[in-house]
């Protein structure tokens, strides 16, 4: 073996990746070649340096826990519990059922197209999780609805209603626009205590949206149809909290 060939293999030798006849030939060459031996020593020294000086980052405990929850919740198999009364917040709150109807809710059966609704809900939860983890919850950061609304209108072919509900604990932090299954969807980002609460808004009739609250991969999903829009609230805050926000959105005069 000559130097030009041997020098290509010394790093592999340092990595213990040279076997059989080639290894024997290489070692024979190294015994008589100080240049290649120096290369081998250098390769071993660098290998040692990398081992001791390059940190191996360990997965944070919070990531481990989140993934564990995700694996146990089994997104493909979990079917959302069918509530006897889908608008639990209304039943639990001060409002009577009649008022719910008055406010223009349309409760539809949801039997047809269950799969599509489920896909939309999963896509929204994925988007929410991605945004929260990447800490990219807003593109336009403002608590001023008069800043957020025009920004959204200028980037969409519809104009979603925007309200700050800081008095009820939901502070508007901004908005972003996301692509969900080929549609542009407005996202109003709120903060409730330490929880990120995303409200996805799209005009009704675009496609089948979820109709009942559900839990997907540990996130609570609260759908709402009001003001000619499909609203989907996604957060790790409790279902009551999301129902409270849904009520505020319904009540808000736009």
């Amino acid at each position: 073996m000559k130097c030009d060939k041997a020098s290509r293999w010394v790093e592999a030798l340092a990595d213990d990746e040279v076997r059989g006849g080639r290894r024997i030939l290489l070692q024979r060459h190294l015994a008589n070649c100080p240049g290649c031996t120096a290369r081998l020593d250098e390769a071993r020294a660098l290998r040692q340096r990398i081992r001791t000086e390059i940190p191996r980052f360990a997965a944070p405990a919070r990531l481990r826990e989140r993934l564990e929850r995700l694996a146990r919740s089994d997104p493909e198999r979990v079917t959302p519990p069918a509530p006897a009364w889908p608008w639990r917040w209304a039943a639990g709150g001060a409002m009577a059922g009649a008022a719910v109807t008055m406010l223009g809710f349309v409760v539809f059966s949801g039997l047809s197209g269950l799969r599509t609704e489920n896909d939309v809900a999963h896509a929204l939860v994925d988007e929410h999780a991605r945004a929260v983890i990447a800490r990219q919850t807003v593109v336009v950061a403002s608590s001023d609805q008069h800043t957020v609304k025009p920004w959204l209108s200028s980037h969409l072919d519809y104009s979603p209603p925007v309200h700050d509900f800081a008095d009820a604990g939901f502070s508007l932090v901004g908005a972003r626009i996301v692509r969900i299954q080929g549609h542009s969807v407005a996202v109003l980002a709120y903060r409730y205590r330490l929880h990120a609460v995303d409200v996805y808004v799209e005009p009704s009739g675009e496609r089948a949206y979820p109709t009942a609250p559900e839990i997907i991969r540990g996130f609570n999903v609260q759908p709402l149809r009001a003001h000619g829009m499909e609203w989907t609230i996604v957060s790790d805050a409790s279902p009551d909290v999301l129902a409270g926000l849904a009520k505020r959105i319904v009540d808000a005069g736009y």
Binding site: R8, E11, A12, D15, E17, E42, A43, L46, R47, R49, I50, R51, T52, E53, I54, P55, R56, F57, A58, A59, P60, L63, R64, R66, L67, E68, L70, A71, R72, D74, P75, E76, D126, A129, R130, I133, A134, R135, Q136
Partner: protein
Amino acid sequence: MPPSDTFDREILPHLDGAYNLARWLAGNPADAEDVVQDACVRALRYSSSMRGGHGKAWFLTIMRNAYYDWVARNRPVGVVVDVDELAEHFADPCAEDPEDAAIRADDSRALADALAAIPLQFREVIVLRAVEELSYKQIASIVGVPIGTVMSRLARARAMLRRAPRLRREDQPAKERRRT
């Protein structure tokens, strides 16, 4: 295989390895977590139609694909490694004498900074080989290139690492240092 089994057998044992790779590729913890979570979701989906025993290379392959998809979605202009965050990592509270630790941190940062700065295709082979200690064959299957390409990328990556730290030292002539 039920997802919880897949998670326990195929993902959890390799989670640190996957996170470490994601962390070196993405350059910061938030994005790395994002990518690992995506990889985990994919792995759970794929494995429901497969039998077990995939091994570390299997999950790291999914992780790597998840990362490149993520880059395509989120960072069309390229990824910048957060060097300050890296410094924080080196400021290990368990370190011995503060002065020794400072010198050591400075020395070892040189190599870590160099690794963080080299192009992605070279960075990933170094992390897979030198940090995760995978074989050339495993790396070839994860990256999806022949073993010869793995070897030549490793050689080029190591040449870059050998060169980079030297240029950062104060005792180098100014003319040389400008080239960094």
